[in-house]
Amino acid sequence: MEDIHVDETLDCRGLSCPMPMLKLKKTLGKLESGKVLQMMGTDPGTKNDIEKNVSKEGFEFLGFREDDGFTNYYIKKG
């Protein structure tokens, strides 16, 4: 987790369902192949939503890391 190179970030802190997933879907749609997105969120449901949905869309969920009052999620475009 430490050596992930982040290419783009998406700040969804304070947003509740469904806005984080909508914004993620839009951002991932524009992401170039092989690039990594870091998404910051505070909604407790986001982790499971990402795990369930991003692999179906052809992305790879690299993992998450807790920060000060929010969570960082890392997703790679295949």
Binding site: S16, C17, L22, K25
Partner: protein, 392 residues
């Protein structure tokens, strides 16, 4: 011997983690809600959410002098108690899972909470209930008004989603105020969750010794709903929204399976004469159910929660949902008061159709299961083909 004892305690720890900390599957939540819906009706009454919020709103407007007549007591009215229980149970669940935290939304989300909460309040007044009383318990009760609201909810969810797409292109969320505590209040205090659960049992005992065992049991049923919904994050807004947003069918199918359990349970209780046939058969089949469902559906997308979803998410500390819940309660109280003042409005809202009166019990249950089955298959087909997915 000590090895065996260790293994036993390992099992206890694993069980604790699965029940109180790890997220339950949506299917576990849906089946549990279906069973509890039947148990709640067997004990005293069907599940509902907005009725309780309205009692609280009525009391506020009575206190400020807007309503002359005092509403029924919030401490004995079962509408009030089942909703109080839901919020209580969800709060306990979020504390135990260390998920409770005050989360401040950006400025635009606060505006959406106010508008969305208002739409939830007006929509549920027109439809004779929210997604729970107007749809879930209504369909379970074999009332045709539940299907009118369902049609409205589907249309409203689609329009609401189109609004969210538009909003992402044209509006900025605005700044987020930061809470001084970092929003972590209660995040490291699971013992508060245990205190709340034990407090609920104490409340039941107090009701029971004072001759109000039924009311006390209704609080426990509400707590059960809140606990299950919070642990499984089961949300009706998602069931109506997701087929249009991502094509995902799972939550829709979970709600349908939950409804099948509830429909069968309600039908047995009513057919056997154990419960009042007309219970939760609202006179809202017609414009009230359709338009109310439509307005409520848009409100669900703006707030990010249905009636039950707004309540359990508010209980995990989401400021947006807390605001939406308050506005939902107040606007439902006002809308219902307006409808009650006019007989023309009441007749416009619709009329009561109890399916067994038209078809007999056997065919009524078969017809309801048929419609739910078609909905299930359409959701599965849409997941494969994305036929109904609204493009961003």
């Amino acid at each position: 011997m000590s090895q065996e004892r260790n293994e036993f305690w390992e099992l206890v720890k694993t069980g604790y983690r699965r029940v109180f900390i790890e997220e339950w599957s949506a299917m576990t939540g849906g089946v549990a809600v279906g069973i509890l819906s039947v148990l709640s009706f067997t004990w005293a009454r069907p599940w509902g959410v907005v009725g309780g919020l309205r009692v609280w709103g009525d009391w506020l407007f009575h206190a400020v002098g807007l309503y002359d007549k005092a509403p029924s007591s919030a401490w004995t009215d079962t509408n009030s108690l089942i909703t109080l229980g839901l919020i209580w149970g969800a709060l306990a669940a979020s504390m135990l899972a260390r998920q409770f935290a005050l989360r401040m939304p950006p400025r635009l989300e606060i505006f959406k909470a106010l508008v969305g909460g208002t739409l939830l309040g007006i929509g549920s007044a027109l439809a004779g209930g929210c997604n729970v009383g107007g749809f879930y318990s209504s369909v379970s009760a074999l009332s045709l008004s539940g299907f009118a609201m369902m049609a409205g909810l589907l249309a409203g969810a689609w329009v609401g989603l189109k609004y969210l797409y538009w909003e992402m292109e044209h509006l900025s969320p605005g700044p987020t105020l930061t809470l001084p505590s970092g929003g972590g209040l209660g995040a490291t205090r699971p013992w508060l969750g245990w205190a709340l659960l034990l407090g609920g049992l104490f409340l039941f005992w107090r009701y029971q010794v004072n001759g109000y065992a039924v009311e006390g049991g209704v609080v426990l049923c509400g707590m059960g709903f809140g606990f299950i919904l919070s642990r499984s994050r089961l949300c009706f807004a998602r069931a109506f929204r997701e087929p249009f947003m991502t094509g995902e069918a799972k939550t829709t199918q979970v709600v349908i399976i939950s409804l099948v359990i509830s429909v069968l349970g309600f039908a047995i209780l009513k057919w056997a004469g154990l419960r009042n046939e007309i219970s939760y058969v609202a006179p809202n089949f017609g414009l009230g159910g359709l338009v109310g469902g439509f307005v409520f559906g848009i409100g669900m997308l703006m707030t990010g929660g249905c009636g039950s979803g707004t309540a359990w998410r508010a209980a995990e500390g989401q400021i947006k949902l807390i605001l939406a819940l308050v506005v939902f309660a107040l606007t439902n109280s006002l809308s219902k008061a307006v409808i009650n003042t006019s007989s023309e409005l009441q007749s416009l809202v619709g009329f009561r159709i109890y399916l067994p009166d038209l078809l007999g019990y056997g065919w009524a249950v078969a017809a309801v299961l048929f419609v739910l089955g078609v909905w299930y298959l359409l959701a599965a087909w849409n997941e494969r083909t994305e036929r109904f997915v609204a493009q961003m």
